[in-house]
């Protein structure tokens, strides 16, 4: 559905040339929710804007829904853009139009006759759950409602691809979740391909099938979300994964516990998919002569399975300890010994 080949974007500024996107290659299949994560300045915003021709790559080609957006101009680009919708961090609604009129705007652009337009708008209002707010102005809506208008507007012309430019970054956590659920729902119901960029791993975890990690204009890591969670390779990816798996205070808690339990070992276990449902701890205590103390744990759901982390403190004879650890390893559970006291 989307094919990005050897794409480079170089900006010339007074301070010299800046490479915003550096040799990126990506293939995104139909019906996929594809996430791009990176800190600000990583080039993800430039990358997504090349998908609808708001930015033109300096080198390489971008093909979206059979249109070579990096090449076409004028009316064929405008036509292509009706199939590639976009939603924005700051919603970008027209304040002078009501909800209904905002959603009708892309239909006016596409030249849909008025009667049909009104019918389609009503459908969209129901789809995003904004019944009763049709005649409100954007200034009378909450952030979440504004983004719902943005989504309805983006879906008006039945696009093939939906681009989300930090679509939830201006929303509170609860609203973020409801917008993400709406996106998943749309993806499933309409089979829409979604590309989103974000700096929050939470968003990737919650809805994406695959993820690309960007740093300094390059894609440094790419793969199914669960794999990336399981085996993050790059330092930056590990940091993003930690955003979700390890709450801020974990490190302090562990340091504190290491002081409290000068003997034994603190181990971090990583559970993926099926393994998350086995009675691992019970088996551990029954079969080995060790004491197990659960320090902290968390399970996160991703689109292709669940992913859990558990911190435990093991104490006992060192021989029993190493046996216990090799047992855990045999159970398809990721083990990382944090510290030997």
């Amino acid at each position: 559905m989307i094919s990005i080949k050897d794409v480079k974007k170089i900006y010339s500024s007074r301070q010299g040339k800046v490479t915003a996107v550096d040799n990126v290659n990506l293939e995104i299949t139909e019906g996929e929710i594809f996430g791009v994560i990176g800190y600000s300045g990583a080039g993800k915003s430039t990358l997504i804007r090349m998908l609808n021709g708001l930015e033109i790559p300096t080198e390489g080609s971008v093909v979206v829904a059979k249109n070579e957006v990096s090449k076409i101009k004028g009316s064929s680009l405008r036509k292509a853009r009706q199939e590639i919708s976009m939603i924005f961090q700051h919603f970008n609604l027209l304040w002078s139009r009501t909800v209904r009129e905002n959603i009708a705007f892309p239909l006016e652009i596409a030249g849909v006759p008025k009667g049909q337009r009104m019918k389609r708008v009503d459908e969209l209002i129901r789809l995003v759950g904004l019944e009763g707010r049709e005649d409100a102005y954007p200034s009378q809506l909450s952030g979440g409602q504004k983004q719902r208008v943005g989504i309805a507007r983006a879906l008006a012309n039945n696009p093939k691809v939906l681009l989300c430019d930090e679509a939830t970054s201006a929303l509170d956590p609860q609203t973020t979740d409801s917008i993400l659920e709406l996106l998943v729902d749309i993806n499933k119901r309409l089979g829409l391909t979604i590309v989103l960029i974000t700096h929050e791993m939470h968003v990737i975890r919650k809805i994406c099938h695959r993820v690309a990690v960007m740093e300094g204009g390059k894609v440094v890591e790419l793969g199914p979300v669960l794999d990336v969670f399981k085996h993050p390779k790059e330092e930056i990816t590990k940091r993003f994964v930690q955003q979700v798996t390890e709450p801020e205070e974990t490190k302090e808690t562990i340091e504190h516990l290491l002081e409290l339990y000068p003997h034994g070992t603190v181990v971090q276990l990583g559970f993926v998919g099926e393994a998350a449902e086995q009675p691992l701890i019970t088996n551990l205590i029954r079969h080995y002569n060790v004491t197990v103390n659960i320090l902290q744990g968390k399970i996160s759901q991703t689109q292709n399975g669940s992913y859990g982390t558990l911190f435990i403190h093991l104490d006992g004879e060192s021989e029993e300890l190493s046996k216990a650890i090799s047992y855990i390893e045999s159970q398809q559970v990721g083990v990382e010994v944090i510290s030997n006291a």
């Binding site: 853009r81 609604l93 002078s96 139009r97 652009i109 596409a110």
Partner: protein
């Protein structure tokens, strides 16, 4: 009662002069609005980083606007005498004031239009582009409606300036309340006439301001 306070005021003449002032103001406001809007849009669209980015055109329009905005109005009228003669054949009467009024006010309003347009969130223009909108659609359906409150408050200020311009134009023979105040009031030392003409001009200004303010606040849904 009025006759004792204002012994020299000829009400028939006063009403006629008021009508002339209103006529000059109305016509020049309408044409200034259209011309200023076009110039303002061109200034905005040809600026750096915009849809029709063109530094040369932008600089040329910008300079013309600045030159005409800087010439004092009373001098502009005199400078435009040959031009006015050429297109209207006369220098006397309300219509003779129109070219100077419009050429004096349109550049002033064009700058206000440009400022209003620059206040539009860039993201909204980008959103329209991402939906596949043509530039003409962006102008008609995004730029103008989204800057409407600024356009209206700008034309209100311009209209008030135009009322005072008509009074100045009156001094050199264009008719209206300025003409009356100058010829009947000042030159014949009939202060009551000058006073009454001033009062009427003030009322006109207040009414324009009131209408402008109420339309602006009605339009602004932000």
């Amino acid at each position: 009662m009025l006759e004792t306070l204002l012994p020299n005021v000829n009400w028939e003449k006063m009403i006629e002069a008021t009508n002339e002032t209103l006529y000059m103001t109305a016509i020049s406001v309408v044409i200034t609005f259209i011309l200023g809007l076009i110039l303002g849009l061109l200034l905005f669209l040809t600026a750096k980083g915009n849809i029709w980015e063109n530094i040369v055109v932008n600089k040329v329009i910008g300079s013309v606007v600045n030159v005409f905005r800087s010439i004092p109005f009373i001098i502009l009228i005199v400078l435009l005498i040959p031009f006015t003669r050429a297109i209207l054949g006369t220098m006397i009467g309300e219509n003779a004031a129109l070219p100077a009024l419009i050429i004096g006010a349109a550049p002033f309003y064009a700058r206000m239009v440009e400022i209003g347009l620059r206040e539009i969130d860039k993201g909204v223009i980008e959103a329209a582009k991402s939906m596949g909108a043509k530039t003409s659609t962006i102008i008609v359906k995004v730029l103008i409606p989204e800057s409407m409150p600024a356009l209206v408050s700008g034309i209100t200020v311009t209209a008030i300036a135009l009322v005072s311009y008509t009074a100045m134009a009156g001094v050199i023979g264009a008719g209206g309340l300025g003409n009356l105040a100058f010829l009947e009031g000042f030159q014949r030392s009939r202060n009551d006439v000058t006073f009454m003409a001033t009062i009427i001009i003030l009322i006109i200004v207040f009414i324009i301001q009131f209408i402008g303010d109420s339309i602006t606040s009605k339009l602004d849904k932000r």
